[in-house]
């Protein structure tokens, strides 16, 4: 057991609020920035990275790389415009991968 920090990546308007809670915020709008931010945070040993769905969609490769390691957990969240259903979609994909059919409905 050890203490680790949390972080959030996204466009400024969506993630500014997280600062009030002492979560590290990284502003990013381009794939390159998002990619670099994820890699840096992972290297620094961040436990949880919340990332807006928009940003998550930019860097599927990077996210897949960290998928099978316990840390960091990269969790998509809706941004200021609401959810695009990316998070729910990824859960569905998991179910299909594991069970072979979509049993959640």
């Amino acid at each position: 057991m050890s203490y680790k920090k949390m972080a959030v990546i996204g466009d400024k308007d969506s993630v500014m609020l997280w600062r009030a809670l002492g979560v590290e915020t990284v502003f990013a709008d381009e794939p390159g920035q998002v990619d670099r931010a994820i890699n840096r945070l992972a290297r620094e040993g961040t436990a949880v990275i919340y990332i807006t769905e928009q940003c998550a969609q930019m860097v599927p490769e990077t996210i897949r790389r960290y998928l099978t390691e316990p840390f960091p957990c990269i969790i998509p969240i809706p941004n200021k415009d609401g959810s695009r259903g990316y998070g729910v979609e990824s859960i569905r994909k998991n179910v299909e991968k594991a069970v072979g059919a979509d049993i959640l409905l």
Partner: protein
Amino acid sequence: MAINVNPTRMELSRLKRRLKMAVRGHKLLKDKTDEMVRRFVLLVRKNMQLRVECEGALAAAMERFSNARAFMGDASINEALYYPVKNSEVLVGTKNIMSVYVPTIEQVQTDQEVELPYSFAFSSSELDGAVIDLSSLLTKLIELAEIEKSCDMLADEIEKTRRRVNALEYVMIPEMETSIRYIKMKLDENERGNLVRLMKVKDMLEQDRA
């Protein structure tokens, strides 16, 4: 299927041992997948429910925040939030679910009082609301992170194990069975050949003597 094994007794007993092992491994792996799928289904149900909840609440908090932004203007929002008063940390570890090491994450600060990091004089109450909403949501979000990651990892492991099971069931085991059958046939055939040869030799000897 090309059979390229030496039809010898050594090879036969080796293959039989391997077949036994493969069957045992297949059974174990199959049991493992079954149990993992069971756990996965429980987890993923919870995951879905949590995600829907969190997304709803988060969208509400964001909306309040954008209201606050509209009230206060960018500059004063930045001023209010730029310096965090506290550092959110989580206590992390790993847990073993069917030999998959999944993370466990616990929130460290559990104080009910939410500290607002700015003075009230220049901020709107909408901002207070947004911050309080988000911080009360944090526990759920952390739980979501833990469960979602577990689901990701389990799904991956299930897929891998299922491949192994199928490879054993449909490739390895049938292949070994045909090889064993082939060796047995070949050995029997040799045996018969030998017998016939002996009989022939015996006949020839008898004829010579007569």
